[in-house]
Subunit: 432 residues, 2 copies
């Protein structure tokens, strides 16, 4: 039986997806059982890189999601609207959904999954996180035996490219960003990437799957890489670290109280850590659970081919299940997912971290004592204090703390900022 | 509905599996729908680390695989017999199979998969390769859109531990092997690991899945690590390489002629390669395909907890599918797998590789000319020739070739061996 696809969007990923479906030879034989029925686009006359049957394109996307002939909708238009409305309409019309849209899933996932559960359809989203890396389906299908403890990911290729270039060439953020924009690795408006919002979308999706909880996107703390300087990368290197933008989801249990920490921020990662060697536009996601320990998934986090690979994999999964059980039956509880319970997310002040902090100060010997006292007053214990150089008349001191509640650390920093000898605190970066 | 498990074997992995199933809290809720009905063991009186219901143990394994109450058999006794016979009997009795037994699947996979297809049952084997790393299911469920080109894996923890220790401590093979045996990382009879046979079992399984071909286990070329010396590791390091035991499956297409290369051997891997940093008992598998590019799966390749995690994941997958479609229906074509076509495997002589070769020779200036001529006569082009030191009166020369057909390289080596100035050729190692 051939299953009919309605494809929404024919941009980079849409074209890659169509390319695979139209050229099934050498791929999984199940591809012969799917056919593109309609493709929804903005313009019928735009020149395309791919040869298409004459009548497959339409600008009426709503007609696709309600077309009774179509079994599966692949949503690749991105953004919040009309993507959300089209997905919900498709679900209401009994279509299964494959989407690469992290923004809409991070914000409206609960609504979409609930609707899908009611309509007994699947909503699969492998391509929304990590591009071509299998991570969403393995989380659902391969790690269920474990008590997942944390997920730590490099899941934004743009920022990882920028940080890698800064590290390898000693360049500053601004110039590397411009170069990334020239090369197409960063968008004209790079805000969502460089401020960590894109990574925050993705970690909220992963956390929701891994911990089976509804996650409010606005509860994810995010801090971007715009303040990272070549100096900090250099100092981090001297201390045995690289700087990466990490997205972290961590479960903490106190008695029966389960809370989640969800955060995106630049992080010092020790060079021997598996994530430290993930460079350029590559992504990697480390999952830790019991009894498994740590596993890591590594690969291309973006791009037409890799993302299309994930989109088509989801489509094949749906076709495989439909072929084995027909329509209108019970959903496979591993492949479907609809968390019922709202996650309890810790405010960032309650999260325990280590901190790298760089101070510019006037008078070194006296200041180190003051720093130590102020930190001590708030229960912040120091792992190392190093005078690392001079900037003009000011000494640069780098402090790395032991684990401390962020609220306490911030209070200590406020007090230190008021000390006469402290000229500036140019960098505060968390340490993994 | 609760699905009943018959567990064969209660050793390291069996105990880990029972531990997870008896303690479902905090894991996937689907675990509440499975129950251990019987456990087959050798001895009823042996002391166990795990508390068991009184009547669950039996020494009559055959009664388990034919027990009409049981839905899924988890085979963890290992070895060829009685594992093969029990698996086939279980299939004939309509049971689904989960197994961690790479030896039996590598040798009798075709027979077992054919029987399973006929009986409409699943045979899942995530735990047979890479311990806790999700690799088998992602190959089947997440990469089907791709034309898989090659798989390169570090899939034997014992040899990776030995090579890592040799690299980090400069020790020789023999002493590290003894230490590994003391630590339980190598068995009393380490042959299957150190000769590459275990890795050959595993790569034949992965190749069969990735390329949808029946693979004869005896067609896999394997060469172990017993001849690797501390000197070679040191010279490799100087040239920018580490030495890893790689298992490689590669598809070559000439016109419509598709052949597979399947081989296990020590390999020089450039230090910037993702596999170069996989150390100790960790495993990693790199899969390359179009349009995906390269993805890597990394994690603990053995051990009770990780392997049990994979065993239970497979069990949950079967339960998920059974819950969604009931019994006796069509199999999910992604989750099931039964290659129909025999693979055409290239003999090792026809494989193209680069080679690192170390020569001990009497008279350096003359010899380099002779080496170059002899290699040239067989079409072997050299990437570098380095006199790397002396051993007594003999000069040590290391040659790295460009890609060359192995048969040609061997012919050149035979000729060079007959040269008067050549005292010995202590090492020949392929280069990735």
């Amino acid at each position: 039986m051939v299953f009919k696809i309605g494809l929404l969007g024919l941009g980079t990923v849409g074209s890659g997806t169509a390319e695979i479906i139209y050229n099934p030879q050498g791929r999984h034989p199940l591809l012969n059982d799917i056919a593109i029925h309609k493709i929804g686009v903005n313009s019928l006359t735009k020149k395309r890189n791919i040869e298409l049957p004459g009548d497959v394109l339409t600008t009426d996307l709503e007609s696709i999601v309600t077309d009774p002939e179509i079994d599966i909708i692949i949503e690749l238009i991105g953004g919040l609207e009309p993507a959300r409305t089209l997905i919900l309409k498709a679900i209401a019309s009994g279509k299964h959904i494959v989407t690469a849209n992290k923004a809409v899933i991070a914000r409206y996932g609960s609504e979409i999954f609930a609707a899908a559960k009611e309509a007994k359809v699947y909503v699969l989203l492998e391509a929304a996180v990590g591009g071509g890396i299998p991570i969403v389906e393995p989380l659902k299908q391969s790690l269920g035996a474990n008590r997942i403890e944390n997920i730590i990911g490099i899941i934004n290729g743009t920022t990882n490219y920028i940080l890698t270039e800064m590290t390898e060439k000693g360049s500053d953020f601004g110039e590397v960003l411009e170069e990334a924009q020239r090369l197409g690795y960063a968008e004209a408006d790079p805000t969502a990437d460089i401020e960590g919002y894109d990574a925050a979308d993705k970690i909220s999706i992963l956390a929701s799957l891994a911990f089976d909880r509804k996650v409010k996107r606005e509860d994810v703390y995010s801090e971007g890489i715009t303040n990272i300087t070549a100096s900090d990368i250099d100092y981090a290197d001297k201390l045995g670290f690289v700087i990466k933008l990490l997205a972290i989801a961590q479960k903490t249990l106190e008695g029966n109280e389960e809370t989640l920490q969800l955060r995106v921020h630049p992080t010092l990662v020790t060079t021997s850590h598996p994530l430290a060697n993930v460079n350029g536009v590559f992504n990697a996601i480390l999952v830790e659970g019991q009894p498994l320990g740590q596993v890591m998934f590594y690969g291309p986090g973006a791009g037409s081919g890799p993302t299309a690979s994930a989109v088509v994999a989801d489509t094949l999964n749906i076709v495989g299940v439909l072929q084995s059980n027909g329509k209108g039956q019970t959903l496979d509880p591993l492949l479907s997912s609809a968390p019922q319970t709202q996650a309890d997310i810790s405010p960032i002040e309650d999260v325990n971290s280590r901190f790298y902090t760089r101070f510019l100060c006037a008078d070194v010997p006296g200041v180190i004592g003051h720093l130590g006292t102020a930190f001590g007053d708030y229960g912040v214990s120091l792992a190392s204090v190093v005078q690392i150089g001079f900037q003009g008349e000011f000494a640069e001191i780098v402090v790395v703390t032991h684990h401390v509640r962020e609220g306490n650390f911030r209070s200590a920093i406020e007090e230190i900022r008021s000390l006469n000898a402290i000229q500036d605190i140019p960098s505060i970066i968390r340490v993994l």
